[in-house]
């Protein structure tokens, strides 16, 4: 039998040294922004019952989840998403908490999407603001999204839309659920040709005409005016003016050229019920952030509460910040070498230097020349040799 003991599975990846350091630094920065806005960290299980992800809106296709069974034969999955487990957790453990509840998470999620350079693991950090609806809550969440991106990126685009627009229009069409999903996919992929071909097969209506325009309705604020000309429905007019309000408010935070509106923003994640938003940046072909309002999701877990949140794709973010990281280990400031019998004194000396802010490595050499050669090779500038006293050797360029 062939042994795969030296390679990792498709879609997996290991991080070494500076790669970890970079991810960690970004995580620290982002989590600080979350926690100082009074969001508290939660961790949800790595393994969950599959049922959590197979209930109603927001269910995740079976074929995209890694599955296993517990010792009673019940189906488990490796966490494919963090929002659904947090909804489950809120509905069970935080039922009696004073609303609103603010939580953040920083944990990986897994989907079977290997191949063509896609990773099956995504490091995700995000927030959920649970138990409150309305504009103030939406703007709080959006402002944190902007703050998180601002803390890491020089340039990005954030776009907002409303999941209700497509839903309201599609409800007016006399089509099957499968056909509606097909139309949604064409809008999502901005496939103008297929969308209009499909709509031509339907009886002519204002709703069909408006759906045909959705994928083109993205850009700056004038998109809303264009949309108002095309769509006369009252419900949608209210949704459009809501996006307008959010846009105006958000433009106090984000320069105009970074802020966009996309009325064709129709995620497959159909648990969104209101505002939806996405962010992009140069250097990453993927979305770096996605989020929105999901007012009916917690109800699926028997706890009817509005909620809004977002997730940052940390891998995409790190890649955008520094596209060419190579793995390198940190170089210590000092090598601490012990003479025979003085090991503990040397280790004490090392931790004292550490307290002073120095990065020190313990020299595991018995021969002084070996230690010097090692220090030269690794470009360590100083060696402290500890016996009854401490002798310091500075390694100059001449060595």
């Amino acid at each position: 039998m062939r042994k795969y003991n030296l390679i990792t599975p498709d879609g997996e990846e290991e991080l070494l040294f500076s790669e970890c350091a970079q991810l960690r630094a970004v995580e620290k920065r982002i989590c600080k922004i979350f926690s100082r806005a009074c969001y508290n960290e939660v961790r949800t299980p790595t393994l969950e019952f599959a049922d959590v992800f197979l209930t109603g809106a927001g269910s995740i296709p079976m074929e995209n989840m890694f599955k296993l069974t517990d010792n009673k034969g019940r189906l488990l999955v490796v966490r494919p998403d963090s929002t659904l487990p947090i909804a489950r957790m809120t509905a069970s453990k935080l039922r009696d908490a004073r609303m609103p509840v603010r939580v953040y998470y920083n944990q990986p999620s897994y989907r079977t999407a290997a191949g063509r350079g896609k990773s099956s693991r995504t490091m995700q950090a995000g927030i959920e603001l649970i138990g409150t609806g309305g504009k103030a809550a939406d703007l709080e969440v959006l402002s944190l999204a902007v703050a998180a991106l601002d803390s890491c990126l020089d340039d990005f685009r954030i776009e907002i839309g409303h999941s209700g627009i497509f839903r309201t229009l599609a409800a007016k069409l006399d089509v099957s659920d499968a056909k509606r999903e097909e139309l949604r996919e064409y809008i999502e992929s901005k496939n103008y040709a297929a969308l209009s071909a499909e709509l031509e097969k339907l009886p002519k209506s204002d709703a069909a005409a408006a759906i045909g325009m959705l994928p083109r309705l993205f850009g700056s604020a004038d998109v809303l005016d264009k949309a108002k000309d095309i769509i006369t429905d009252d419900e949608i007019a209210a949704q459009l003016s809501y996006i307008g309000e959010v846009y105006t408010a958000l433009s106090k935070l984000v320069p105009g050229e970074r802020l966009m509106i996309d009325l064709g923003l129709v995620n497959q994640n159909d648990y969104y019920t209101g505002l939806v938003f996405t962010a992009y940046t140069h250097g990453s072909g993927d979305m770096v952030l996605t989020g929105g309002r999901y007012d009916s999701l917690l109800g699926q877990f028997g706890f009817d509460q509005p909620a809004c949140g977002f997730a940052i794709n940390m891998d995409a973010l790190v890649k955008a910040i520094n596209p060419t990281v190579s793995a390198s280990a940190a170089v210590p400031d000092t090598l601490v070498l012990a003479c025979d019998g003085s090991e503990i004194e040397a280790l004490r000396h090392l931790s004292k230097l550490g307290d002073e802010g120095m990065v020190c490595e313990f020299g595991v050499f018995t021969d002084r020349d070996d230690a010097i050669r090692y220090a030269v090779e690794r470009a360590i500038a100083r060696i402290d040799i500890v016996s009854d006293s401490v002798e310091t050797i500075e390694i100059g360029e001449e060595n």
Binding site: R116, G117, D154, R157, A193, F218, M260, Y280, G285
Partner: protein, 210 residues
């Protein structure tokens, strides 16, 4: 930091789609001399602000999905086979043909099909699933027409243009799956980050294919 100084990068499917796209770009006023005289180079400048990358069809999708190319020109057949997390923004109208099920003229009835040979296993599975037919799919790399002749499969699913290859081998179209043509695809982030440049290019091309 203005990353927009980078040229807009388009991945073209090598061969016929490449030639047709170059004709379109030239008609739209872009200088494609470098592509016409490419030699062995794989990344070529077109005018001031565009860069063309030549690749195999499936790789065009990979490059665009991963964002290393902003745009791509690729056949609908490849898109259908490999899925899509990108924008499919334009039907370029050339490279027209169709996916079809074909078999021996004296072959089995359609409803009795059990084995299908194809270069496009995903398209094939989806099509027969849609008809609620349970078939075995065999992936073949080239000259799929051989499979029914050698009795490896009852029928094939393949791209059919004129049907003359089928005819010469005693095969006929049993059922049409769907029409195919060349498409322009776009990376999702690029569409948002470089909207103006992309829309300008797309509308110039759209004018040529009207």
């Amino acid at each position: 930091m203005s990353a927009n100084i980078k040229p807009l990068r388009i991945a073209l499917t090598k061969g016929r789609l490449e030639k047709k796209t170059v004709e379109l770009l030239e008609a739209a006023g872009y200088d494609c001399t470098a592509v016409r005289e490419k030699g062995r180079r794989l990344i070529l400048p077109v005018g001031e602000n565009i860069e063309v990358v030549l690749a195999k069809a499936a790789d065009v999708i990979t490059y665009v999905e991963n964002g290393v190319c902003d745009l791509g020109v690729v056949g609908k057949d490849t898109i259908m086979e490999l899925g899509n997390s990108f924008y499919e923004i334009l039907d370029l109208g050339f490279g027209r043909c169709r996916f079809a099920v074909a078999g021996k003229t004296d072959g089995c009835e359609f409803s009795h099909i059990k084995t299908v040979a194809t270069k496009y296993p995903n398209v094939t599975r989806r099509y027969f699933e849609g008809l609620s037919m349970d078939v075995r799919v065999i992936k073949i790399e080239g000259s799929v027409e051989l499979a029914p002749l050698l009795s490896l499969a009852d029928v094939i699913v393949d791209i059919v243009e004129t049907g003359s290859t089928l005819k010469e081998n005693g095969l006929e179209v049993k059922s049409e799956v769907c029409p195919i043509s060349a498409r322009m695809i776009c990376n999702i982030a690029s569409m948002k980050l470089r909207k103006d440049e992309i829309e300008k290019l797309v509308s110039q091309i759209e004018e040529q294919i009207k």
